[in-house]
């Protein structure tokens, strides 16, 4: 602190604020929070403002309605994401993988698998680090299943998907999604250790020298944690906003054009063709088949289609919401989104270096079974 002051002799007035940095940051946070909320509570006016006042669309016309929906949803989604990503950025600055590995090192209680899942949600790492983290955990003594709990929860329960679920479907669905994601992570990890799946690690992993060099994690003051939050907003929102806007745009079009009840009534209820559905082409005849509530195979089918896909939940979820409003069942749709975000085939390919094929298969199958179960459950609940 002393050195710092000497370095900037002209800024002695700032000395006060550097010494009492913490409360000042708290005040800044509270002010930002209030400002955020004031905007958020009015964000549903933005659609009418842009569509009607600026673009002079009639609010009762189909285009006008679509535009109002688009700007309202886009505004709310992006504004909420700013807050959520910022807060998660700050929270994540407390959890480095090295620290988490240390925390999980000697834990074996069933509840600890849930902890591992929760830590997976708040620990920052990009998908390309998943495999090094996996191996780093396993080779330093974290049980294999617990490592899987950590690894499964991380992409599945992500703040982007949860925020969008909250905006588009409400708090109940968002919460159910988080709970089921954690439940899958917990169960898969716990059962893997129960059945001693570590037998199927490649030999080199087991023989790996069990010492771990920890890269020094620099100590951070709260100010730099806040900077981390801002960085996260810049990086993540900067990456996903086009997906979100395109997704919401497509959703707006679906809202305008697709007849309501299209998916629930399937073939018979279509107002346009009185039974001759061949006229709609494959799109219309395939979608109700997959997302139609009546067919029992719809959930596993949606999961199997979603698993190899890699897509951004920010783009996917608005479209799904529009489909659900037209009668597609919510459990099927959410199972689909879970499979898209939670199952990564490139990751499996990389893991193959460390896991014998049977273990990869077990991992993949248990994810698919778990997600399918969640789909059925949510179809039954909502």
């Amino acid at each position: 602190m002393k050195n710092d002051d000497n370095a900037k002799p002209g800024k002695s007035a700032l000395r006060f604020s550097t010494h009492s940095g913490f409360p000042r940051n708290i005040i800044t946070l509270i002010l930002m929070g209030v400002a955020w909320y004031v905007v958020y509570s009015r964000i549903d006016k933005i659609g009418a403002l842009i569509a009607v006042r600026l673009l002079h669309l009639s609010p009762v016309s189909q285009t006008g309605e679509g535009a109002v929906y688009f700007f309202n949803t886009a505004g709310e989604v992006l504004w909420l994401l700013i807050l959520v990503i910022y807060v998660m950025g700050i929270i994540r600055s407390f959890f480095q993988p090295e620290k988490v590995r240390h925390m999980l090192g000697d834990r074996r209680h069933p509840v600890d698998y849930l902890l591992a899942g929760l830590l997976g949600v708040v620990t920052p790492f990009c998908s390309c680090s998943a495999v090094p983290i996996f191996l780093g955990f396993v080779t330093s003594g974290v049980p294999l299943g617990m490592t899987f709990s950590f690894l499964i929860a991380s992409p599945m329960v992500n703040e982007i998907a949860v925020s969008l679920l909250f905006v588009l479907f409400g708090v109940k669905i968002a919460f159910t999604y988080v709970a089921s994601g954690l439940a899958i992570a917990f169960l898969v990890g716990f059962l893997m250790d129960r059945f001693r799946m570590e037998r199927y690690l490649e030999p080199w992993v087991k023989e790996f020298e069990k010492s771990a060099v920890d890269i020094a994690v620099p100590k951070m003051d709260f100010q730099s944690r806040m900077a981390k939050g801002a960085d996260a907003v810049k990086e993540i929102l900067g990456k996903i906003w086009p997906y979100a806007l395109i997704g919401i745009g497509i959703a707006a079009v679906i809202h305008m054009l697709v007849p309501s009840g299209f998916f629930s009534t399937g073939f018979s209820g279509c107002p346009e063709c009185s039974g001759n559905h061949a006229a709609h082409g494959t799109f219309a005849s395939t979608l109700p088949r997959i997302f139609g509530k009546r067919s029992w195979e719809s959930v596993p089918l949606a999961v199997l289609i979603g698993a190899p896909m890699y897509s951004n939940p920010a783009g996917m979820l608005p479209i799904l919401q529009a489909l659900i409003e037209k009668g597609a069942p919510i459990g099927t749709s959410l199972a689909f989104i879970m499979a898209v975000s939670g199952v990564s085939l490139p990751e499996m390919v990389l893991l193959r270096k460390a896991l014998r094929p049977i273990l990869i298969l077990v991992f993949l199958c248990s994810l698919i079974v778990g997600i399918t179960a969640v789909g059925y459950l949510m179809n039954a609940l909502f």
Partner: protein
């Protein structure tokens, strides 16, 4: 001197390699850049996160794309000869 970029080939790993090249250009330090993409080889460095950068076998940063300036500092600290 040898710079190793550890990463299985993701976008961030490539960004880090590009930054290392730029750092060499900016500092005028001569060093060889090697990309380590094999996961088994990467694990020998004991890193948990990629991309990571090692100079002469010593890991200096992991899990972030280090800026060319910072890589330059690493290089100077590791005793790289600056030729103007």
């Amino acid at each position: 001197m040898k710079i190793q970029i550890l990463g299985t080939g993701c976008a961030k790993c490539n960004a880090l390699a590009a930054n290392a090249e730029q750092a060499l250009k900016e500092t005028g330090i001569k060093a060889e850049i090697e990309k380590v993409t094999d996961i088994q080889e990467i694990m020998k460095f004991k890193v948990l996160m990629t991309p990571a950068i090692a100079i002469d076998g010593k890991v200096l940063a992991a899990g972030r794309v280090v800026s060319p300036e910072d890589i330059g500092k690493f290089l100077v600290a590791a005793g790289g000869d600056q030729h103007g």
